[in-house]
Symmetry: C2
Subunit: 277 residues, 2 copies
């Protein structure tokens, strides 16, 4: 089912590359073009048939009817004005940024047909080489429409994500950022912090629990410093809530209060058990 | 290669059951007997040929030449005096407790041929039903001999773990507990805390990062409250170090200090990348 004529993916990394592969695979567009800073990335994207054409020059996107901004948060914000000057007036623009308040507020003012999106898929890996058209299957894609989001554009972006296999739900940008600070950004903060504080000479004793708890600390640090700064207020609040949680457990251990400690751990375990992940 | 005549596994749960299965599979003992509080566990252990004989009555262990205490930390401490009154004078005793200072100090006084051990294998799952003779392959088993540990007994316990596929290294009980507080106990504290503080209604938005970071929060809460209390001082110190780490990241985010934030995250990422896990 063709949804678009020419889709331009700006940033053919893990997510952008996976979207390109999936669009091609499912025939959702007549043509997919890619923009990357790196020649090598474009070469891989062409060789894997993720894109029909690629360029380091963003001018290539000018007659697309869908532009997907799939760069790190900061680059999305920096590129938007230029993209706005290049594209057709009726072009639909979406992005895959992990924070939404700042991006949606700015991009809504630039693009008449902008729909914010955050596909919750991916891994600690990065780059076109890890791209996989199947990563969106059974994932969640959050759309963040606002009052003046064009309904028709929203419908088409929604259809795109459904076609890629994702479940689609809508949240306001503020809700999105608050929720994500608790279910994603905070876990990254915890993983990075754990890696930061464990003495190096002890790392040889790390086993399976350590491996999984810190997996996402291998994520690209620059992508995540952007996300943390872009969602600053929510993240600081969520870190503080985690610190209170740590204090609660620390205090129960300090007081040798086995009953309270059992209660806290049991509740955490039951919550984790109830997760369908 | 037969190492023992009659091995008694006290506590045929995930670890005890896996040891029993592996000993039988590799023919390391003529006979393996099991003790559990639960009839059903013993039934499963017999049906899966983990043990030759099982009983809820600990008297069954009396003529073993190796006793493996594989219960939670607290139960190891509580059972030890009774086991000491039951067994043959020359019986080798070992345990699989996750903390060692308290256990080694007490058990060394009770058993003339005691060797402390901590196999770093297992998962959040619990019980004989999840037992698997292969879980020790390529794992690390830490032995914690002290000054008056019998060298011959230590050699036999070491051989046992090598035969089960583990790499064996020796640490003092104090070193063990300090290191483990940083590479295992702290990760459990972090995972339990993350589950505790994330608002319930947000859990539906959890994805892969959340899943892995909190996997070990599904561990049995009573086992872990025992471990935390038994390694109280080290764990409190490690929590405080984590809190300092969180403060450092929080402060960089608060000050919008992208350079510092990048530096912290990059260092954490490189450390994680260097792990061979």
């Amino acid at each position: 089912m063709r949804l678009f004529n020419k889709v331009a993916i700006v940033g053919t990394g893990l997510i952008g590359g996976s979207i390109a592969l999936a669009i091609k695979k499912k025939g959702l567009a007549k043509e997919v073009i890619g923009v990357s800073r790196h020649k090598k990335t474009l070469l891989i994207a062409r060789r894997t048939h993720a894109i029909d054409k690629g360029s380091q020059d963003i001018n290539i996107i000018k007659d697309a009817d869908l532009v997907v901004l799939a760069t790190p948060v900061d680059t999305i914000l920096n590129l938007a004005p230029k993209v706005g000057r290049l594209i057709r007036r009726d072009c639909i623009v979406t992005d895959v940024g992990s924070t939404k308040r700042e991006i949606v507020s700015r991009l809504t003012r630039i693009f008449p047909f902008y729909v914010g999106a955050h596909p919750m898929a991916g891994s600690q890996n990065r780059g076109m080489l890890h791209a996989d058209p199947g990563i969106f299957k059974n994932s969640l894609c959050i759309l963040t429409p606002v009052r003046n989001t064009d309904k028709k554009a929203q419908g088409k972006v929604r259809k795109l994500w459904l076609s890629l296999g994702a479940e689609v739900i809508c949240l306001s940008p503020d809700e999105h950022d608050k929720i994500l600070s608790f279910v994603s950004h905070l876990q990254h903060i915890a993983a990075f912090s754990l890696m930061e504080v464990v003495p190096r000479q002890y790392l040889q004793f790390a086993a399976g629990g350590f491996r999984d708890t810190t997996r996402i600390a291998a994520s690209e640090s620059e992508i995540w410093s952007d996300i943390f700064l872009s969602n600053r207020k929510n993240i600081i609040k969520s870190i503080e809530v985690l610190q209170l949680g740590l204090n609660k457990i620390k205090s129960a251990i300090n007081k040798k209060d086995k009953k309270l400690l059992d209660k806290i751990l049991k509740r955490a375990k039951l919550r984790r058990d109830s997760l369908d992940l």
